[in-house]
């Protein structure tokens, strides 16, 4: 079984596209919580409100870290998707963690970000442009079959 962690951008359906395209393969997918509001507020919703936004964010980020750490540590392959918008520093941070832990890293991003992502890409075993390419890689890795 291949364990794949899908990190990064949460506003498009790229995760679902990969998972669907991998139908029939022996893969266990994991991902962060992708409900943006829940992810932002989980800390204070459970552990009590914070008047200071900095600690509001900190509480949430630490609770989310329980899930993301486990997801990355148990993965064989970490796919990190950089979207068109936002800073996405958490995605690059996850890529750094994955790299330092020796995970196989696949970056999913568009060419206009190539230069800005060159250090992240240089730590990756593949730079893909579409979810379909990621799925084709996973299929090849497991079955040895290339797309027709």
């Amino acid at each position: 079984m291949l364990r794949v962690y899908l990190s990064g951008e949460i506003h498009t359906s790229w995760r679902e596209e990969i998972i669907e395209a991998c139908d029939g393969l022996d893969i266990a997918f994991d991902a962060p919580v992708t409900d943006h509001a829940a992810s932002d507020d989980c800390g204070v919703a459970i552990l009590g409100a914070e008047p200071n936004k900095f600690w509001h964010d900190r509480k949430g980020a630490m609770v989310n870290a329980i899930r993301t750490r486990k997801g990355i540590e148990e993965a064989d392959v970490v796919v990190v998707r950089f979207g068109e918008k936002y800073k996405q520093w958490n995605a690059a941070f996850d890529a750094g963690v994955a790299s330092a832990l020796g995970k196989s890293l696949i970056v999913l991003q568009q060419p206009d970000h190539d230069h800005a992502l060159k250090e992240v890409d240089a730590a990756a075993l593949a730079v893909a442009r579409t979810p379909a390419e990621v799925a084709q890689i996973l299929r090849y890795v497991l079955t040895g079959k290339l797309p027709a």
Copy 2:
């Protein structure tokens, strides 16, 4: 001796400010190559030109990784500076590497980036706003003395 790696933004004098403010302390500072042009072109300048910009960048990023990996792996403290501009994904990537390797992480950034950096900050032992604060932390860590 404390080994401190100064990662991130390369267009202002924050590294020099920290180093100067730590005068007299037993610290060995390290950093990436901060000559932007050399850093971008080192791969092709040494190993031969690439017509494709993607591989041009890759060659350079890999050569730079020889230096940055060693710098982070040997550091006790990794300071990562996020500036006002650019994507700075390499800075967030370095923070992820430092975190996964168990380094003490200090993030240097302005409050308007707090929300975007919340996952990175949550992995840090300090979030500083000025180079002077970073230097005061390093001085306290080594001497136990607080700023007057």
Copy 3:
């Protein structure tokens, strides 16, 4: 599956409350032996009496360590509960072990211990006040759902 080790105070029903509140989740809970008398006497009961209480205690603590080491090493999340009474140094010791092994640490304690526990809390991803909060964290980590 999430593996959760429940360390610390053994005189109240906090473990049962967490486990019950996590009903339906894919969690494997583990814990030390919570039978106080058995835990104190296991060494001499099996391996022979010791006239010196120091070695009586040592024998028991070493036998218990076979269980607690495995429990902590195999856990994804270590919850450490500090109660109102006793020194509870073994709880703080377990927290230190968990932290050094990179486990996600949740501390369960009351506010009057905040200052005394500040170093332990600083190594934790969450400081909870009730077993219900711990369960809500675990539920969110696994399902992404916040309490209503």
Copy 4:
């Protein structure tokens, strides 16, 4: 050279007694910041005040962790002193970290704490009652000479 980290109680002169009694030996001693006020306030003194005492403490504990982590990680021997008063959970936490990192642990404590410390003691290679005994152990370890 032997690197020895002296963790725990900060209100008596036990560190100085050990260091003095080790005069002439090739030992590098390290310790946390033992100025109680500075240790409590270092976070807010450098990084800005916090109205909430919980985060005041957290900021300080995280800055102190930069020093204590390095001290323990670089040590060959970690001596943890439990005094007569206070909860001292940070001392037990340090002992847990030291144990998990495979450091040689020496506990310095009085017999009335033997039962409460039995799990910590069980992870130690020596339980000493006086600073002089700790120094004699260090002298023996380095020179093979026993006290006359």
Copy 5:
């Protein structure tokens, strides 16, 4: 599930006694090949004869190491039995490997060997005198129940 590796003496039925006394417990036992002749000759029987006894032995010891390494590395608990006869250096070697890998070590030996085994015993969490004691420890570790 507890994984227990039973190392050492191969001429008595101590393994069977432990396994039988652990009936009903969730334990996976492993052990080296205990057929003395097969163990001695496996190298040359499969890979070809050696005129020099030194290499005859080496070939066999290396093939056996494939099994023993895996057994010890995957174990939670390593029980090492020292019998009344022979040098049994392989048993002490296995104990050293287990100790360096952080396994919970139980030594099974008679009191007349206490002094000769003091360094090995000092790395163990229990020194048992009978297979029944080992089984009682394993039962207590898994169930918290002491022998009646």
Copy 6:
């Protein structure tokens, strides 16, 4: 269960012979993609053509590394087969990786390569001449039974 990775030469049926001869044993075999053309072209077939053969090869080698890394890291035993032809540097590279990761290494090669492979052989627990010998080793390791 024993996990065995079969690395190296891909033009003969040695893998099938070993697997067949291990029929009935609790072994999970893994291997690289052995379809030569797919293995050579997987990078460009999925991620886009490269005019430069060097990067064509690089892209493929990196995609294949996702599979081979996982295969070697999860293996208990790595068998590396050196055939009669070709440089087979990837086989020797895999042997180096396996050795550094502490895997049990079995080399399968003919005597005329003994001198050239002496450093690789010296890191192995067995040097076999035929697939049947490898299978006999695996059978002995799991069952303790020698070939009749």
Copy 7:
């Protein structure tokens, strides 16, 4: 200081060329024994003759491993040179070891070996064609200066 291990081909002066071109840099170079006869015979010359060439080679390879293991484990950068002739499996093996240990790998080889070395190259941070290029990389890594 940068520690560089120079592995591989021993019949040309590539090591001397790199070392000379790095004059003035803070680099400690290490390498295997490059006296071919001594390297082949060290085992039997010291530990006694072996009638069987296989064990003759084994004895020597194991003695040489004492040096090469230390050299690679302590290196920051491992340069592996593949020459025009011979199997050079020990060079590829060293590259595998270096890669698994997370060392920065530089491969020095000619283009006609590109395809055969593609898996080794894919684990490297640079593929150089001349000793001068290797030296330029090392100079850039340490000083940030590119060749004029």
Copy 8:
């Protein structure tokens, strides 16, 4: 510099012979305390008498472990000498620790112990018969020079 730990038999002058024969080489030698009486009694001499010989021995063995652990962990090469007499289980235990930590192991023993030591020898890179042979290996490893 090569760090060499000399473990095992303490009743002959083998350590001195090796050290003397390595005169002029850049080697740092370390060893356990070789004063038999001090080694046996160090625990009780410093930490107080024990009426039970088992705990008398335990206390001493644990204090000695502070030195031996450090010695082995910091060594590049561990030489383990088995003499003609005694059980010497501590020597075999040290060999196991050294092997599990990936140290280069040299065993020094006479042929009549070959069969009993076959598992230990199989983990070693050299089996030497005399201190002179050990010194010749160390000299070759450092200088590449064979004995005349």
